[in-house]
Amino acid sequence: EDQVTQSPEALRLQEGESSSLNCSYTVSGLRGLFWYRQDPGKGPEFLFTLYSAGEEKEKERLKATLTKKESFLHITAPKPEDSATYLCAPYGGTSYGKLTFGQGTILTVHP
């Protein structure tokens, strides 16, 4: 069975303090991995899809990277508006659209 673990569970940063979130996974026949952002009371918002080890994607202050066993979401010089829960979801070869989500990392950025 596919397994996903995100760490840390919660992360508090000062504005401008860069850091990384981790997503470790065990998925047979990995075909890719999604990152989502979820604000309180809202649905997950799509950020990135990574398809193969070594791939990187960037969007504003966020950069996602992928290895064969984990993915990182790097946040550079975060702002308070980056505060949210970040979810990763790997996608396996036989999943037929079934994403396995991690429990998320709650990021809080203080001004």
């Binding site: 809202k42 899809t49 079934k98």
Partner: protein, 118 residues
Amino acid sequence: DTAVSQTPKYLVTQMGNDKSIKCEQNLGHDTMYWYKQDSKKFLKIMFSYNNKELIINETVPNRFSPKSPDKAHLNLHINSLELGDSAVYFCASSQDRERGFSSTDTQYFGPGTRLTVL
């Protein structure tokens, strides 16, 4: 021009009642999903429909029944509601499951329906 919409946003009901949550997507996607997010914030898939055909049916009590009148709509009916059904339910859609993994498989989520069973 909301992409994936759900109604109602909040649903408070008594144990034993039957209720429905509606979902509509205007993205022209072929596949729709229902997820449950529990109090620990884990998102777990419940069902998936592709062009009105059920393709994913996770271990969910048969009190839960999805219904897809057309490929733009996927409703969730819940019979004999129990306390443990309290959660946030999300609908999602994606372009096309059949084409393999590509950018078209990205799932777009609705705003969620918070169900509270008293």
